[in-house]
Amino acid sequence: MTGALGNMDDLYEAIILDHYRSPRNTAPVEEADVDFEVNNPFCGDEFHIQLKVENDAVAKVGITGRGCAISQASASLLAELVEGKSSDEVHAAVSSIRRLLKGEEITDEEADVLGDIEALAGVRKFPVRIKCALLSWVGLDDALKAHQTG
């Protein structure tokens, strides 16, 4: 059956489909410190992301919204990753994932941090979908920066 579907498996690895079907941390966060929306009007992805920050570390994440399998799974993977991370660690992870999706090398240490997220690398063969994979990450980076400076 996947024969006719060609390279689909590169894009939709099992781990991606799992996060898509059962996204993590979907409960809204009360009294969030960081609260923002990201959207890509062209494909109709919209997420509302909330963080509770304690001692410069992300204590709680909540992501609601809707999107394609890639943006949804990516947001869910993000939610899983950032909990407990300092904002510097989050920035570093965003930088790693940007490079991963651009097709640049990442170090073994970076790969360790990303963990399951490396499954998103299959998106590189589908360049129009890279935006979907990056959507929540870019938004998070911007929102955290804004939180720190303001």
Partner: protein
């Protein structure tokens, strides 16, 4: 030239397909099944050849040249205009203005006719199912002029009920700008009746015919339209060229849109006088090659006969609608009765996001469009931000519809592993 409605060539899909080189392409190892015709259509050899012939044998700048190439280029350019005029039954070829695309045609009318005729407290009426290109110019103009932008609503099936126009179109309405056929819902709007309504209050009617002129016989006189806009690239023609048709007296009274070479009769260091129609609206070197190739596209469609084109698409739509609805997992937007709509089917799958569906079908060689289809407010009114869309043209077949439906089933299987 034969009558555009009836055609002089047998409508034989296999023969038609042989005219389209791109249909030989393999996509990800599969035959291309091109179902994105509302976005743009493919081009037959006849149109491609027209471009090649022009550049290999005739190419020159038009108008006012005394040398042979320039004279031939001018003749070809003007002959294409005449073909287009005949195709939409325009009374005079000078009423056909070449633009870049439908969007430019719409902007031209907003920036000239409406700029001069819409004032504070007036209103502009459009429908709630317009393409962005027929929304945003009016939003901007209304804003600038202190006028009101009003939306003609549609019912749940996506049809405009004429009763709803009462109270929306009123004595302060200056222009009614409506799509002839929705690029999302497929709905065909009652343009002739709306024209009557518009004229009864002294307003003009503009018809966005981007999705109708390519697919059905369109007669500007029968519709009693005042302006009509469409794009060549959606009707077998090249990219980069579109048409604004307008009633002679309206065009004649309008100020120019752009200024420059060709649209001018006389220039001094102080002042300028405008050239006659249609040149008043064609500043600078025109898109000569693509205008001539548009003539070739019109010839092609005229030979097939627009009645036959329409009938072919009706059959396909009918068949596709049945197949898609029988899946049970898909919601179709717009009227389900194929007699009320053209060959565009937008739908939403219960579980698969349009974007994922688009990628999965592309792996199988099937090209569909996904997203907001440049009609965000309309798509959102169905409580979604994106939809998938298939749209048909003369070269599509029932077996391509089958390929699409089975591709959809494959995808369902894949995502429910």
């Amino acid at each position: 030239m034969s009558n555009p409605e009836f055609g002089s060539r047998v409508f034989d899909v296999d023969a038609i397909r042989a005219d389209f080189p791109i249909l030989q392409r393999k996509i990800n190892g599969n035959d291309l099944v091109y179902l994105d015709n509302a976005a743009t259509t493919q081009k037959p050899n006849q149109v491609i050849k027209s471009l090649v012939d022009y550049y290999e044998q005739t190419n020159a700048n038009v108008h006012r040249g005394v040398h042979t190439l320039s004279i031939e280029a001018t003749d070809g350019y003007e002959l294409a205009r005449t073909k287009v005029a005949k195709f939409i039954n325009a009374p005079r070829p000078e009423e056909v203005i070449w633009t870049r695309n439908t969007s430019e045609s719409l902007n031209l009318v907003a920036a000239t006719w409406a700029e001069a005729n819409v004032g504070e407290g007036d209103n502009i009426v459009i429908t709630a199912m317009e393409h962005h290109s027929n929304i945003v110019p009016w939003q901007q103009l209304a804003d600038k002029k202190g006028a009101e932008l009003r939306y003609l609503p549609h019912n749940e099936e996506g049809l405009i009920e004429l009763d709803s126009a009462t109270g929306v179109i009123d004595y302060r309405t200056k222009i009614v700008a409506v799509t002839h056929m929705s690029n999302v819902l497929g709905t065909i709007n009652p343009v002739a009746k709306l024209a009557e309504r518009a004229h009864s209050v002294g307003a003009v009617i503009l018809v966005d015919a981007a999705q109708s002129v390519p697919h059905m016989p369109v007669d500007v006189q029968a519709l009693d339209a005042d302006f009509l806009c469409f794009s060549a690239h959606k009707m077998l023609g090249p990219t980069g060229i579109g048409v604004l048709w307008g009633k002679y007296d309206l065009l004649e009274a309008m100020p120019p849109y752009m200024f420059g070479g060709d649209m001018i009769l006389e220039v001094t260091y102080e002042d300028a006088t405008w050239n006659d129609l249609p040149y008043k609206f064609e500043a600078g070197t025109p898109n000569i090659a693509d205008a001539i190739a548009t003539g070739a596209a019109v010839d092609y469609l005229t030979e097939l006969g627009m009645d036959n084109v329409w009938q072919h698409e009706q059959e396909l739509t009918d068949y596709a609608m049945e197949q898609i609805l029988s899946l049970g997992s898909v919601r179709v937007l717009g009227p389900q009765n194929p007699a009320l709509r053209g060959g565009v089917i937008s739908f939403i799958h219960d579980t698969i996001h349009p974007h994922d569906l688009g990628t999965a079908l592309d792996q199988q060689g099937i090209a569909i469009r996904t997203g907001h289809h440049c009609a965000m407010p309309l798509v959102r009114s169905f409580d979604v931000v994106a939809a998938a869309r298939v749209s048909f043209y003369i070269y599509n077949t029932k077996s391509e519809v089958d390929a699409f439906v089975s591709g959809l089933c494959e995808t369902e299987g894949y995502f429910s592993r």
